[in-house]
C-alpha cells in the first residue's frame, strides 16, 4: 500500500543554531591534496542575495564511488563522506571545501544539491554538474533543460567551481522533481 508523503514546510529563519555544525562545509580540510572550493551566491527574484539560505551537497568520491560512510557530523579530517552543509552568509554566499566528484556508472559527474531558505516553503533539488569536458555530450537532463541547461553547470574558477542559485527571475535555476516519487 502506498502512503501519502508528509508535506514539507519552510526551514524558517531560526535554523542557524540547529542545522549548521562545526566542519559542516568541509568535506575535506581546506588545503588537502585535491581539495577544491565549490562556492556561489543564492539570489531571489530581484537578484538580491539571500542571507538565510542553507545548501546541502551529496556527491560521489573522485573515483565515482557512492560512499556509505558515517562521520559527516563529527568530521575526523580523514574520512570523506560525500555530504556537506553550508548556510549562506550575510552576502548570500556559501562555500564548500571538497573533492571533485567522479562520474557514477557512466553518467556525467555532478553534485546533488538541496536548497532550503526562509521564504521557501519546501526544499528544492537541483544538480551542479562539473563543466563539460571537451567532447563530452550533455546527458538527458541537460538536453531536456534546453536553453536553461547553463543554470545546472558549475563554472570553473581559480580554486574550483562556482555554482550560483537563482530561486526566481532571470536565470532561474532548473529545480528538479522526481516523478517516480509518489506524492511529490
Amino acid at each position: 500500500m502506498t502512503r501519502s508523503a508528509t508535506p514539507g514546510q519552510t526551514v524558517g529563519p531560526f535554523f542557524h543554531y540547529a542545522l549548521p555544525y562545526p566542519g559542516d562545509r568541509e568535506l575535506v580540510p581546506p588545503g588537502t591534496a585535491g581539495a577544491v572550493l565549490l562556492h556561489g551566491t543564492v539570489r531571489d527574484g530581484d537578484g538580491a542575495a539571500i542571507p538565510d539560505a542553507l545548501l546541502e551537497i551529496w556527491q560521489a568520491d573522485p573515483d565515482g564511488r557512492v560512499l556509505q560512510r558515517a562521520g559527516s557530523l563529527r568530521r575526523d579530517g580523514f574520512t570523506f563522506t560525500g555530504f556537506g552543509r553550508a548556510a549562506t552568509d550575510a552576502s548570500g554566499r556559501y562555500s564548500f571545501s571538497t573533492l571533485v566528484p567522479g562520474a557514477v556508472e557512466g553518467g556525467l559527474p555532478f553534485f546533488a544539491v538541496t536548497v532550503f531558505a526562509r521564504g521557501l516553503l519546501n526544499r528544492l533539488f537541483t544538480r551542479a554538474y562539473l563543466p563539460l569536458a571537451d567532447g563530452a555530450e550533455p546527458d538527458a537532463l541537460l538536453r531536456s533543460a534546453g536553453d536553461r541547461a547553463g543554470t545546472l553547470l558549475c563554472v570553473a574558477d581559480d580554486h574550483g567551481f562556482r555554482f550560483d542559485v537563482h530561486l526566481q527571475g532571470d536565470g532561474e535555476t532548473v529545480f528538479l522533481s522526481y516523478p517516480g516519487h509518489r506524492g511529490d
Binding site: A70, A112, G119, V174
Partner: protein, 258 residues
C-alpha cells in the same frame, strides 16, 4: 514590560485570512489533490521573491541521487535526543515526549538515519540572534536535538512543549506551536524539512505557513496525536507523530544490497 505597539504599516489579519480563504476555495474547485505546500503562496509574504516561477523539471534519479548520506553512532551522542538535560539545569515548561516512526512511501522503516529537530522554548522564544520577541530565554534550554532512528524507523525525543510566537508577516501574526524536523531517507531525493504541530491549535486557520498546504488531509499529516500510552506517570505528556517520506526509487532487492 508592556506589549510594543503594533507597527501601523503591517497588514491586518483580515486581509491575510481573506487571501487564504480565496486560495482554499479555488483549490477545492480544482478537484486535483495536492500533498505538498505551494511554493508560490502569496500570503506567506517572504515567499514572493523566493519561489521558482517555472515548473519543477522532471528528472530520473541517477548516481548519488539513488543513495542518501549515511550517519552513524559516531555522529551523535544518544543524550542529544533529550532536550531537557542539555545545559546543567531543568528547563521551564511542559515536559513532553515526541515519538514516532519514519517510513518510506511503501511503509518500510527508514533505519539508522538522522533526525534533527529545533524549536522555541515554552515562552515561544528561539535561541537565535534574529529572534527579538520579548519573551524570556531559558538558560537551560537550547531547543536543539538529534537522534538516529532505530531498526524499526522509530525516533524519540524528550523536550519541552514549545510556545506559539509572533512574527512580522502581518499585524498580530502568530505561529502555531511547532517543532522543526529535518529528515533523510535512504535516497537523496527523500530529503525533507518540515514542522510538527500540536493538535487543536487555535492558530492553525490564521497561519500562512500551515495554510500553504491547501489540502486539509495533507495539512493534518503535520499534526501529532496526543497519546496517553506515550505519556509517562508524573513525568511527561506524550505525542506520537509518524513521518512518511516519498519514494523510494530503488527496489527492495537493491535496498538489501545496500
Amino acid at each position: 514590560m508592556t506589549a510594543p505597539p503594533p507597527p501601523a504599516e503591517l497588514e491586518p489579519q483580515e486581509t491575510l485570512s481573506a487571501e487564504m480563504a480565496a486560495l482554499r476555495d479555488a483549490y477545492e474547485h480544482t478537484g486535483v489533490e495536492e500533498t505538498q505546500p505551494r511554493l508560490d503562496y502569496p500570503p506567506y509574504r517572504s515567499s514572493r521573491l523566493r519561489h521558482p516561477t517555472k515548473d519543477l523539471h522532471h528528472a530520473d534519479p541517477e548516481g548519488v541521487e539513488l543513495w542518501a548520506p549515511c550517519f552513524g553512532e559516531r555522529d551523535i551522542d544518544p543524550l542529544e535526543a533529550d532536550l531537557t538535560i542539555q545545559d546543567g539545569g531543568e528547563p521551564i515548561g511542559e515536559r513532553t515526549v515526541v515519538t514516532g516512526r519514519v517510513v518510506d512511501g511503501e511503509g518500510r522503516p527508514v533505519r539508522r538515519q538522522l533526525v534533527e529537530i529545533w524549536q522555541a522554548n515554552a515562552g515561544g522564544r528561539y535561541i537565535h540572534k534574529r529572534d527579538q520577541h520579548p519573551a524570556p530565554l531559558d538558560p537551560h534550554f537550547t531547543g536543539v536535538g538529534r537522534c538516529l532512528t532505530d531498526d524499526d524507523g522509530g525516533y524519540r525525543f524528550t523536550t519541552i512543549k514549545p510556545g506559539p510566537y509572533p512574527w512580522r508577516n502581518h499585524r498580530n501574526a502568530w505561529r502555531p506551536a511547532h517543532i522543526h524536523f529535518s529528515l533523510f531517507g535512504s535516497e537523496f531525493t527523500q530529503r525533507i524539512v518540515t514542522q510538527m504541530y500540536f493538535p487543536g491549535d487555535p492558530l492553525f486557520g490564521l497561519d500562512p505557513i500551515y495554510q500553504s498546504i491547501l489540502d486539509p488531509k495533507a495539512r493534518e499529516r503535520l499534526v501529532a496525536a496526543y497519546d496517553h500510552d506515550v505519556t509517562q506517570h508524573e513525568w511527561a505528556t506524550g505525542y506520537r507523530w509518524d513521518i512518511v517520506l516519498t519514494g523510494p526509487h530503488r527496489t527492495p532487492a537493491e535496498q538489501e544490497d545496500a
